[in-house]
């Protein structure tokens, strides 16, 4: 078992090294930009998976937490002149605190009721940023620009490496949490919340922890997103379609597994770009949804997590045969 784990660890290290050396063999600034978006999108996806994917409190309001982080950092840097990195940290914490306070009352309900209530959150934020006397702060429909960016376009590899480092660090932490006793309880809440209470575990506390971590990472991702593109606007960060992409990435990857959705997020971002020339304009999202939906229907347990399990099983079997 120890040898199998060592092989798995070596495989992961190889993947990480491969990702970090991407700027050496992909010189295209366009594709480096797409992969940078994929890094940040992966944060959106794993943050949704650790809350909704683990506890079963399925939310369609994740863009609210992403938007909180994005708008907080935009306002802090644009209006208050705060340096980039401190404002990103403050924004992640503000998304965690404000988002969690707002989501707590919704813990009393679950299933379709929670889903519908969560759906209202980004609509609320979209309306808020467009309110007349707040447009001076939020930029209204047009949003705020220009915002400080991590690096100029010709040095896009720096942004890629920065976002990749953050994504890998948080993915590792969230994966450790998911496979810990705490992660077990998150998944148990999904399966039978009442039974969790009957084992002496405070389900509310665990749900709170799950959403706090999720909101923090979503807020962090939101802040990275706006400083990657140098602007923030309701349509770029609060759009329902971002939510649809997150859910598709999680489902393609394998809900509740963290690693699967991580692969799913890169797959979705690359797929969206690959189909751009053949399906321009609104057709692109339609084709993407059809492909994503088809994969989910064919492999409802998660396409990527199944591949990863199969590859691991083949390796283990081969090692046993060699022994």
């Amino acid at each position: 078992m120890k040898r199998e784990n060592n092989v798995t660890n070596i495989a992961w290290i190889a993947i990480v090294v491969l990702l970090f050396t991407v700027p050496l063999y992909i010189r295209s600034l366009h594709w480096l930009g797409i992969l940078t978006f994929a890094n940040i999108f992966a944060l959106f996806v794993i943050s949704w998976d650790i809350s909704s994917g683990h506890t079963g409190y399925l939310s369609l309001g994740h863009t609210f937490f992403i938007g909180l982080g994005g708008y907080s950092s935009a306002i802090l840097t644009h209006h208050l002149g705060l340096p980039l990195y401190p404002s990103i940290c403050i924004s992640a914490f503000s998304s965690m605190i404000i988002g969690t306070i707002l989501i707590i009352p919704a813990f009393r309900i679950r299933g379709p009721y929670f889903l519908m209530l969560s759906f209202a959150l980004p609509l609320f934020l979209t309306s808020l940023v467009r309110i007349g006397y707040l447009t001076g702060i939020t930029g209204g429909h047009m949003g705020l620009f220009p915002l400080p960016v991590f690096a100029p376009v010709p040095e896009r590899y720096k942004t890629y490496l920065l976002t990749l480092s953050i994504t890998i660090a948080f993915s590792f932490l969230v994966w450790k949490l998911s496979t810990s006793d705490v992660g077990f309880v998150f998944k148990a809440i999904y399966q039978d919340e009442e039974l969790v209470g009957n084992l002496g575990l405070n389900a509310f506390k665990y749900k709170l922890v799950s959403f706090m971590i999720s909101n923090f990472i979503a807020g962090l991702g939101g802040a990275l997103w706006v400083h990657n593109i140098g602007s923030v606007a309701p349509h770029s960060i609060l759009d329902l379609y971002i939510m649809v992409e997150i859910v598709i990435a999680v489902m393609i990857g394998g809900e509740g597994s963290i690693i699967g959705p991580l692969f799913g997020s890169y797959f979705c971002m690359i797929l969206l770009e690959v189909i751009r020339p053949i399906a321009p304009g609104p057709w692109r999202l339609l084709v993407f949804t059809l492909i994503g939906g088809g994969i989910i229907a064919a492999r409802p347990g998660g396409f990527f997590i199944e591949i990863l399990r199969t590859v691991r099983e083949i390796f283990v079997r081969r090692m046993q045969l060699n022994d």
Partner: protein
């Protein structure tokens, strides 16, 4: 003898229906108390009140001499009450050993002062006591009804309670399977995890083999209490089970 559980003048109504009208029960350490009564007598409601699933309308519940009124279910479990359900409940995509480990997350707090053994080793020991050691990595969907019942007992044991409430554990089991479950309950009592048990069941022969005291309830009232033979011979119990016209 220490009084582990004391239920005093408990009352509970659901709308116009009085499920529990006035029930008082004392359970002392080492007691194996059987609770019998026809369907709708209020047995499961009594367990639901004790475990905090429903708040009571009146009366008091004491655990180890302290009131647990107003506490939520998980808080009562942490005070030392464990429970199994009428229909075996579990986490469908969680293995047997993970079920036990999860239950230990609460039980461990109390257990930590007694043992410092490895969590996995203790989970395996519990699985061994309930005869599930060969099925550690199985999912609930791969288990028989008897094995699911054993899993419930394993989770209850992992919580390390003062008292275990068992709700119709023998339902749907053959005589042979009931015998094996009874054996496990006896082993649990001998190892003092827990030492006190309250069992609801319709299977009177299984109950007779394990309970040292029986309480009969009907229509939310206690109608008899005593040894198994005394309660079964009680006229009120006969009427409750078989009707008014039995000679």
């Amino acid at each position: 003898m220490t009084k582990v559980l004391a239920v005093k003048h408990l009352r509970k109504s659901f709308g116009n229906i009085e499920a529990i009208r006035d029930i008082s029960i004392d359970v002392e350490e080492g007691d194996i108390l059987g609770i019998i009564g026809p369907n709708g007598a209020g047995k499961t409601t009594l367990f639901n009140l004790i475990t905090g699933v429903h708040p009571q309308d009146g009366g008091e519940i004491l655990l180890m001499g302290s009131s647990i009124d107003g506490l939520r279910t998980f808080e009562r479990v942490n005070r030392g009450i464990a429970r199994s359900f009428q229909f075996a409940r579990n986490f469908p995509s969680t293995t047997v050993v993970e079920h036990i480990r999860m239950a230990m997350l609460s039980g461990r707090r109390r257990e930590r002062t007694k043992t410092h053994g490895d969590t996995r080793a203790r989970a395996e020991h519990i699985a061994d006591v309930v005869q599930l050691s060969e099925l550690l990595e199985k999912l609930p969907g791969q288990l028989t009804i008897e094995e699911l019942r054993k899993l419930e007992l394993a989770m209850a044991m992992a919580v390390t309670p003062h008292i275990l409430l068992i709700d119709e554990m023998f339902a749907g089991l053959t005589e042979e399977e009931s015998g094996r479950i009874t054996g496990i309950i006896r082993t649990m009592i001998e190892s003092m995890t827990p030492s006190t048990i309250v069992i609801i069941d319709h299977n009177l022969s299984a109950l007779a083999g394990i309970a040292n005291r029986v309480v009969a309830i009907d229509l939310g009232l206690k109608i008899a209490e005593g040894s198994f033979e005394e309660v079964c011979a009680n006229e009120n119990v006969k009427k409750a089970y078989l009707g008014e016209y039995v000679q």
